[in-house]
Symmetry: C2
Subunit: 343 residues, 2 copies
């Protein structure tokens, strides 16, 4: 099955992008990039996309080999092209979701070493398309792209979205008295990453462990929840990509408030991860508070609002000039988060 | 002057992106990314851009170190961050121009090795902003981006544009009887590239040679000409990024016609490059027909149309199922063009 082809690939699939060439590769992957119909799709210098309410939201994100994924992990797991394509789509669709919008188009730029197997790139296209479809981005066209050569694999997607006339949800709208809520799984991305980087191989993973690696490799942002939060009148929202602690501190700083989180509200998340965390000698709550790549939503709502389906309260917005988050009243700090340059 | 800082940089600027960290680097470059005002700019998970006529055009392009630019060329010339930022903006704005549209927003994803000097990245932001301004993309916001680490420098920009209600100009609209026209300089990008890759250093370049290298490093797409061609009723258009031969063959194939070019119309372009070509033992016409990265426009117009300012006729559209271009009636072939994977 094409979705499981790994690197290295069997001898009969050893055709590489260097051997096939740019136009040959395009002919192989374009038919696999299936999404909604754009007003004008690939084939010209730019695509054309509808923006029914006269505006659109616009974001970009990149995955780089050995930084954001590994072809082969310490555990022996190999990231398939399907995994990488899925993750690129998921993280970009999540940014649109975080504004309360519905994705309308993606363009993709791929940088590939000469020796990249063509089958791996086909799987990447399949994974990207599958994420768009299976995550429910039914209005999202895969509208164009760019192909080039490099020493490492890199995939950048830029995505646009439609707010259907609604105001965009910003990070800066949280007000003291609001409730803090999340939608989606917390800590699965970090748990999956720890398993990928552990010495125990995929053959030794139990059902829960395999599921957590699956969520790390192919995150599942809750794409219905962003527009639902907007409709319910959320006051602020963002995507949980770098972990609750760090992302929460960003939302708090943008709003000029403090997010007072309660460990009791997060205990079920931690409890669910305990069996895996214990085996790796990790405190499960550090995954819940500090782990990235879950791509759930962090949002704040007025106290009188009924939280939309999928959201649950994890704390309260309180006044405070220090910014940041507290957990049971103690500073959480941004140290749990992730900085791409280690600074 | 910041626009001339090179790599390696002086000791007092040796602060690297690895030392500064992601948020520190963002704080240094965001103020330098000045364009038009977006409805909502950087700081949230996505920007918000206006689309007054209810649709927008959308494109993406990437520059990768050692593929699309070199930090140090055979000639000894060092590509500044300013050069690379300018070129990224120029090639992306050119794609929007080629549709007959006016750029409205750009988002930028930067992949940087740890050791990249911060000053080099600041120059890149300056060069991107300067190109947007100096090339005349006055409605283009620099609306957001993404920062990450990698083994090589890579910059991807995605750009959107506004057609102001007009139909997009496609590659597929050329009809037998139309005239073939170009706007902009032909062959300068290739001449500049040959100089960069020659053994003779920048100190030995005469005024013309320095100007050609300047056009290679900082291309100048004619951004007023795209919308003007649309207004004049061009039947087809595209950006000249991979050379007249290869791009012309693409337009011919998309339209199901042949582009019959005349060498007499291109002779002045070749003649102007002769002094430089002769010194390098090159036939100047190969630069004019085969050289990429000029980012002028190739367009077709009805025979009764007065060509807009900047366009000049170089041939005629004729019927033919073979596709491609001819020069004085002989097949030009696509072999002059450029394939990223050498296929």
């Amino acid at each position: 099955m094409s979705s499981n082809r790994q690197w290295p690939v069997p001898a009969d699939e050893q055709s590489t992008v260097g051997k096939l060439g740019e136009s040959g590769l395009l002919a192989r992957i374009l038919p696999r990039l299936r999404g909604a119909q754009a007003l004008l799709g690939p084939g010209d210098d730019a695509a054309m996309i509808g923006a029914p309410d006269g505006r659109f939201v616009f974001s970009v994100d990149t995955l780089v080999q050995d930084q954001d994924f590994r072809l082969t992990w310490a555990s022996g797991y190999s990231s398939s092209g399907y995994d990488v394509g899925w993750k690129s789509a998921a993280q970009n669709l999540s940014d649109i979701n975080a504004m309360g919008a519905v994705a309308t188009a993606a363009v993709i730029s791929l940088t590939l070493p000469h020796e990249t197997p063509v089958g791996w790139v086909e799987d990447l296209a399949d994974g990207f398309s599958a994420a768009v479809r299976e995550l429910g981005a039914m209005r999202c066209a895969i509208a164009g792209g760019d192909l080039g050569r490099g020493r490492e694999i890199s995939i950048t997607a830029a995505v646009t979205g439609d707010l259907a006339g609604a105001a965009p949800l910003l990070r800066s709208g949280a007000r003291p008295g609001d409730v803090v809520a999340v939608c989606g799984i917390l800590g699965a991305g970090a748990a999956g990453l720890a398993l990928l980087e552990s010495s125990r191989g995929p053959g030794g993973w139990n059902e829960q462990e395999a599921r957590l690696v699956g969520l790390q490799a192919r995150p599942r942002p809750p794409l219905a929840a962003g527009p639902a939060a907007a409709a319910a009148g959320a006051t602020a929202m963002m995507d949980l990509s770098d972990g609750l602690g760090r992302d929460g501190a960003r939302l708090a700083a943008a709003s000029g408030v403090v997010l007072a989180l309660e460990s009791a509200a997060l205990a079920p998340d931690a409890l669910a991860l305990e069996p895996v965390a214990g085996g790796l000698g990790v405190e499960a709550l550090t995954w819940v508070l500090g782990g990235g790549e879950d791509h759930g939503l962090l949002a704040t709502f007025g106290r009188d609002v009924e939280l939309p389906s999928g959201f649950r309260q994890i704390g309260d917005v309180v006044a405070g000039t220090a910014g940041g988050c507290t957990i049971d009243g103690a500073p959480l700090g941004a140290f749990l988060g992730y900085d791409h340059f280690g600074g």
